[in-house]
C-alpha cells in the first residue's frame, strides 16, 4: 500500500484548500496582526506607530484592567470546582439504563442548546427585583435581594448561570468516560460492603480522574473568556461603576467603535491569549497522562 500511488500530487491540497484558507485568513493571520498591533498606538481609523511596550505599561496603571482581570480570574476559581463536580454527579444519575433516562439526558442538555443571550435574558428576568426567585423567596420569608443591582451578587449570579449552562455539556463528556469504567469494579466494591459515597471516591473518581482534569482545564479556559453572560446581566458598561467588567468585555469595549483603541485592545487580547494558552496546556497535559492507560 505504501508504495502504490493512490492519488495525484495536487489532490491533497485541493482537499485542504477551503479549510486551510479559512483558518489561515481568519485565525492565524488576525493573530499575527494582533501581535503586531499590541505594540502600536493604532486606532480604528489610523494604523498607528510602533510604541514598544507602552500599552503594557499603560495596562499596569489602568484600574479597569485590574478589575477585569480580577473578575475573569475569580470566574475561573469559583466556577470550575462546580463544573468539574456537578456534571459528574449528574452523569452518574443518568448513566443507568432505566425507563425514561434518554428523555432526561436530552432535557438536561437544553441549557447547552440555548444561546447564552437567551439564557442570560431568562435569568435576568428570573432574578429581577420582582422576579420569580425573589417571589419564591418572599413566600419563604426571605429577601428581596438585588441580584442585578449589587456588584458582587451580580457577579455571583452570572457565575451560577455559567455553571447551570455548562451542566449538560460536561455531563456528556463524563458519560463517554463512565462508559469505559468496568462494571466489575463497582460489583467488587459492593461485595466488599462499600457504600455509595465510598464507591464514588474509591471507584468512580480514580477511574475518571483524567476526564476530570480535562473538564477542569476546558471549563477554566471557557470561564476566563466569559463575555455574554456578564455583558447581558450587568449591561455593556459592566454593572455598578463598571465593577463587573470582564477581560473580554474590556477588549470589546476598548477596541471597537469609531474611536476604538485598537493598539491597547490588542495588548489586552494578548493577555487573554496568554492565560488561555496556559490553561490549554493543562488540557494537553491531562490528555497526555490519559494516553498510556
Amino acid at each position: 500500500m505504501k508504495h502504490v500511488r493512490t492519488h495525484r500530487a495536487a489532490s491533497p491540497w485541493l482537499f485542504l484548500l477551503p479549510g486551510l484558507a479559512t483558518v489561515t485568513a481568519f485565525s492565524l493571520y488576525p493573530f499575527l496582526t494582533t501581535l503586531h498591533k499590541a505594540f502600536t498606538d493604532a486606532l480604528t481609523l489610523t494604523p498607528g506607530a510602533w510604541v514598544g511596550l507602552r500599552n503594557f505599561r499603560d495596562m499596569a496603571h489602568d484600574e479597569q484592567f485590574w478589575v477585569a482581570l480580577r473578575n475573569s480570574g475569580l470566574y475561573v476559581v469559583l466556577v470550575v470546582p462546580f463544573t468539574v463536580l456537578l456534571p459528574l454527579l449528574l452523569a452518574l444519575l443518568v448513566q443507568k439504563r432505566i425507563p425514561g433516562v434518554t428523555f432526561f439526558r436530552s432535557a438536561f442538555y437544553t441549557p447547552v442548546v440555548a444561546s447564552s443571550v437567551v439564557v442570560a435574558l431568562i435569568w435576568g428576568w428570573m432574578l429581577d427585583d420582582r422576579g420569580l426567585v425573589n417571589g419564591i423567596l418572599r413566600v419563604l420569608g426571605a429577601g428581596p435581594f438585588a441580584f442585578l443591582g449589587d456588584e458582587w451578587l451580580l457577579l455571583f449570579s452570572a457565575m451560577a448561570l455559567t455553571v447551570w449552562k455548562g451542566l449538560g455539556y460536561y455531563m456528556v463528556i463524563y458519560l463517554a468516560a463512565l462508559a469505559h469504567v468496568p462494571r466489575e469494579l463497582y460489583e467488587a466494591a459492593a461485595v466488599d460492603g462499600a457504600g455509595a459515597l465510598r464507591r464514588f471516591t474509591a471507584v468512580t473518581v480514580p477511574a475518571v480522574r483524567s476526564t476530570m482534569a480535562l473538564v477542569g482545564a476546558l471549563s477554566s479556559v471557557a470561564a476566563f473568556k466569559v463575555f455574554s453572560e456578564v455583558f447581558l446581566l450587568a449591561g455593556p458598561t459592566g454593572g455598578p461603576a463598571g465593577q463587573d467588567t470582564t477581560l473580554v468585555m474590556l477588549v470589546q469595549r476598548t477596541g471597537t467603535g469609531l474611536n476604538g483603541r485598537v493598539g491597547y485592545s490588542s495588548a489586552l487580547s494578548l493577555v487573554v491569549f496568554a492565560v488561555a494558552l496556559l490553561l490549554m496546556l493543562l488540557v494537553l497535559r491531562a490528555d497526555r497522562t490519559r494516553r498510556p492507560e
Partner: protein, 276 residues
Amino acid sequence: MSRTTPWEKAVRYALLLAVLALTVGPFLWQLSTSLKSTTEDVYTSPPRFLPSHPTAHNYAAVADIIPVWDYALNSLKVAAASVLTNLAGASAAGFALARLRFRGRRAAGLAFVAAVLVPLESIVVAQFTMMRDLELNNTLVAVVLPGAVGALNVLLMRNAFSNLPYEIEEAAVIDGANVWQRFVRIALPSVRGTLAVVAVFSFMGAWDDFLWPLIVLSDPDRFTLTVGLNYLHGTFQQDPRLVAAGTVIAVAPLVVMFACLQRYFFRGVGEGAVKG
C-alpha cells in the same frame, strides 16, 4: 449497584425530576411569561406559573418593535451556511490529513492545531479591522466567514477518518476508484456519527454566537437574533412579556432541531467523537 431496591429507584427518579425542574423550569417560566396578557400582572407573589388567559399577542407585539422574523431568517441563513461550509470543508481537510500521504501533511495538521489554540475572543478586534478593510463589515457574509471551517471540526473529522480500517479503501484502490470516489462513496458514509456532531455544533455555534455578530454588524436591519434580542432587552426592558416572546422565538427552533437529532448526536458523542 447490582440490585436496585424500590427505595433506591424512588430516590433516583426524585433526583431526576428535581434536576429537570432546575434545567428546564426556567424555559417553561419564560414560555409562560410570554403567553401572559398585558392586563395580567407578571410580578405577583407568590408567582403564578400558568397564564390565566393565554394569548399570542406578545409574539405579534414583539414583531412590531423589532423585525424579529427577519432576524430569525438572518440567523437561519448564517447557521445553514455554517453547517454546509463546515461539513464540506472540515470533512475534506480531515480526509486529506488522515488518509492521504503527501509532503507537508504534518505542517498542514499543525496549522489547524495552532488555530485551535487561538481563542476567538483574542482576535475579534483584528478580524473586525480585516472585515472593514475588505468592506465586508455589516454583512452576513462577514458573520459566517471566520467560522466557515472550524479548526476543531477539522481535527474531529481527522480523528474519525483515522479510525477507519485501511482494508475498506484498499479494495476500492484496486478497483480503480480515484480519491474523490473513495472520499464520497466509502469514507464519508462511514463517519456519519461525527458528521452529525459537526453539524449540530456548527448550527448551534452560529445560531448562538453573540460577540462576533455584535462587533461586526452595526445596521439594525442586518442583525442576527442574538444581537437583536440584546437590542430589544436594552430598549424595552420594562415589558418582560415581550422579551420573553423574543427569547422563545430564538430558542424554539434549536430545541426542535436537537430533539430530532439527539439520537445521532448522543451516538456520535458515544463513539468518542467529542473529547472536548
